[in-house]
């Protein structure tokens, strides 16, 4: 194997990209019109555009989740946060005299975002100040948050008829859906803040060893607090998109299981659940893979629940490919010589349940 091919094979984005390409190719073979894009009314339409538009909320949630996971935490409450923020925004707009008023819509968004930030701060305090294990701290809000969302909507589905709010999910800008730009903007903002400044490295160092980072002069608790707030903010915007897509808020079903999809996207993207490293580009790829899989399954006329079977296969395949233990076994069998003992870096972290 040439050096170049080997380095490409070992690149962390190789497998996610390969999976995505294989899925796109398989789709095109199965349905030749899959990749075609047409211009209609000055807007671009086509399956690829749909995949991008529908994956926007997942990308947003997964970006926040990436930061949380890179500190060694996990945020299970994002789905509930989506539901609460969507419900509050819809409730405010539905009570307003003129639902198309821009001021009304922005007030609603600001209010909902404010509540989401408070929820994120709650998670952050539980994890960083009180020191509760992240999976449990956020489980509280995941369970109670669904109840709160239904409390806001009083168990009903709030339907609204607001043009500006609808645009968040279905509007167009420069021929492309607005949702794509929102997700892209969030991705660029987070990437800029973490990779153009020292912030990203600080987050990773806190994920690597919180106590050592604190002794090195990093305010670890503050960083941990911050990532949960960012995650909640991302979830809130994703919640706006989900509710805007259907112009209604359903406290029970908005963002249901999005936390699992988001964690999946992060893991597919190569970020370890043990923390210490994060790859935003991998996360976005992961989200695209999940949405492409869902779209593929819909296009093949398989029930959406059965799509979970395929998801299970993808999860296990990606995790196995990325697991050092599996790679070591695989390459030993392939080459016939035992590989040098690879010290697994996550050994110390084994006892942390995720």
């Amino acid at each position: 194997m040439s050096e170049r091919a080997k380095s490409m094979l070992n690149h962390r984005l190789f497998w996610p990209v390969a999976v995505l390409v294989v899925m796109l190719v398989a789709n095109t073979v199965y349905r030749p019109g899959f990749l075609s894009i047409e211009v209609n009314n000055g807007h671009l339409y086509g399956t690829p555009i749909d995949i991008l538009r529908l994956s926007a909320p997942l990308i947003l949630v997964a970006l926040g989740m990436t930061l949380v996971i890179s500190t060694g935490g996990i945020d299970l409450s994002v789905g509930s946060t989506c539901a609460i923020s969507g419900a509050i925004a819809c409730l405010y707009i539905s009570r307003a005299p003129d639902q198309n008023n821009l001021v009304t819509v922005f007030t609603a968004l600001a209010m909902a975002l404010g509540v989401a930030l408070a929820l994120g701060a709650w998670n952050g305090v539980l994890v960083s100040v009180i020191g509760i294990q992240p999976i449990i701290a956020t489980l509280i809000l995941m369970v109670a948050g669904r109840g709160l969302a239904q409390l806001v909507t009083e168990g009903q589905i709030i339907t609204i008829n607001s043009g500006p709010f609808r645009a968040i999910g279905l509007g167009h800008f420069l021929t492309l859906p607005l949702a794509i730009f929102i997700a892209l903007g969030a991705a660029l903002l987070i990437a800029g803040l973490t990779r153009r400044t020292a912030l990203g490295m600080i987050v990773e160092s806190v994920g690597g060893n919180r106590e050592a980072s604190r002794l090195a002069g990093i305010r670890s608790a503050r960083i941990v607090f911050l990532v949960y707030v960012v995650s909640a903010a991302c979830a809130a915007i994703a919640g706006f998109m989900m509710t805007a897509n259907v112009s209604s808020a359903d406290g029970n079903n908005t963002g249901l299981w999005v936390e699992l999809d988001a964690i999946l996207a992060v893991v597919i993207g190569g970020t370890s659940l043990a923390g210490g490293r994060f790859y935003l580009s991998g996360t976005i790829l992961g989200a695209l893979i999940i949405q492409t899989l869902t779209t593929t399954v819909y296009a093949m006329n398989i029930s959406p629940q059965t799509a979970l079977l395929f998801k299970a296969v993808v999860v296990i395949a990606v995790c196995l490919i990325q697991a050092p233990a599996f790679r070591a076994k695989f390459s030993r069998r392939g080459r016939g010589t035992p590989p040098p003992p690879t010290p697994s870096p996550q050994r110390q972290k084994e006892e942390v349940p995720a």
């Binding site: 449990i136 489980l139 369970v143 999946l264 629940q305 979970l308 995790c319 006892e351 349940p353 995720a354």
Partner: protein, 329 residues
């Protein structure tokens, strides 16, 4: 791990710290029951307690399996889906005319097999339990709809007999057969955890896997065993649920894993592993059941208050465990 407090103090403070969470849960349960009895006259009827067991028997069995997994410091997200898959498979096989006994055996084998495979993936490939059991959850839920999109009724004689079987006293109070099965599972599990090698290994691995390995304990076998046990408990839970509903539905028990985890945590089991009791889990399930009963009795409160109260209780208990200084990362 703080097993016993070495400091001398007043005699009540010498209570082993690991017993405190269970006792607090017990106190909470008694207080909630007291509130119920003082507010509603019908609440003091013994049948109310029996109904809590009848309605939550399958939850109890699944929570027992989850306690094993959490004691080793792992987590099993697949339980709700496995419950649904077991009910679905048995309904489907019965519909296609297989003998009852064969269906029972097959249904009880699927869960442990899936659990065994997940345990192997977790142990041999160093994968996170969270992700592996998430895949298991997707797989089992997908299988449900793969079998059928609609719910399948069960008309088998054995199932209907078990469903209607009542054990009661002359005054009309009764429990169903499921409750007895659930109790049997609880007793066996409590015995295994307290008095067998497997049980002590589970605690040792939860306390510190490295130390357990260095001590020469069979870490691999134990870790795979707990996921298999959890799978078996989910399968039994699935059978009990199908006794209860007399059908297999693809979307039943969605989100049940959260209730189960909440019950185990409220029961005083520490999520990093190594500390907790089956008895606590029983109390945790009872707390959830009594909350639902209270909300039903009130009539004015909507169903979503259940979730908010459970969330609040989770918070209170975790904070409490933190305050009394149980090892909690």
């Amino acid at each position: 791990m703080t097993s016993t407090s070495l400091t001398t103090g007043p005699s009540w403070a010498r209570l082993p710290r690991r017993h405190v969470p269970v006792l607090v849960t017990l106190a909470l349960l008694l207080v909630m029951y007291g509130i119920g009895v003082s507010q509603y006259r019908a609440f003091s009827n013994i049948q109310v307690i029996f109904n809590v067991f009848i309605d939550n028997g399958f939850l109890l069995v699944v929570a027992v399996g989850m306690t094993f997994v959490i004691l080793t410091g792992g987590i099993d997200l697949s339980v709700g889906s496995v419950v649904a898959m077991t009910a679905m498979v048995s309904a489907w096989l019965l519909q296609s005319g297989l003998p009852t006994l064969l269906v029972l055996v097959i249904a009880l084998l699927i869960g442990p097999t899936l659990g065994f495979l997940m345990g192997c993936a977790i142990h041999f490939f160093d994968l996170q339990p969270f992700i592996v059991t998430l895949a298991g959850m997707f797989f089992a839920r997908g299988m449900c709809t793969f079998i059928s999109d609609a719910s399948i009724p069960i008309t088998d004689g054995f199932w209907t007999t078990m469903s209607q079987y009542r054990i009661g006293d002359p005054r009309g109070n009764f429990v169903s057969a499921s409750v007895l099965i659930a109790f049997a599972v609880v007793l066996v599990a409590a015995y295994v955890l307290a008095y067998t090698r497997l049980g002590r290994n589970v605690y040792a691995i939860g306390g510190n896997p490295q130390s357990a390995l260095l001590m020469g304990l069979p870490v691999a076998r134990t870790r795979i065993a707990v996921y298999t046990i959890s799978g078996l408990c989910s399968a039994i839970g699935g059978i009990l649920l199908s006794f209860y509903t007399l059908s297999g539905a693809p979307l039943i028990a969605v989100g049940m894993e959260l209730d189960v985890i909440a019950a185990v945590v409220i029961g005083g089991t520490v999520l990093t592993g190594g500390s907790g009791y089956i008895f606590g889990t029983v109390l945790g399930v009872l707390v959830l059941g009594v909350i639902q009963t209270l909300i039903t009795f009130d009539g004015g409160l909507s169903s979503w208050w259940t979730k908010i109260v459970i969330g609040g209780l989770l918070f209170a208990f975790i904070l409490f465990q933190r305050l009394i200084g149980i090892r909690y990362k």
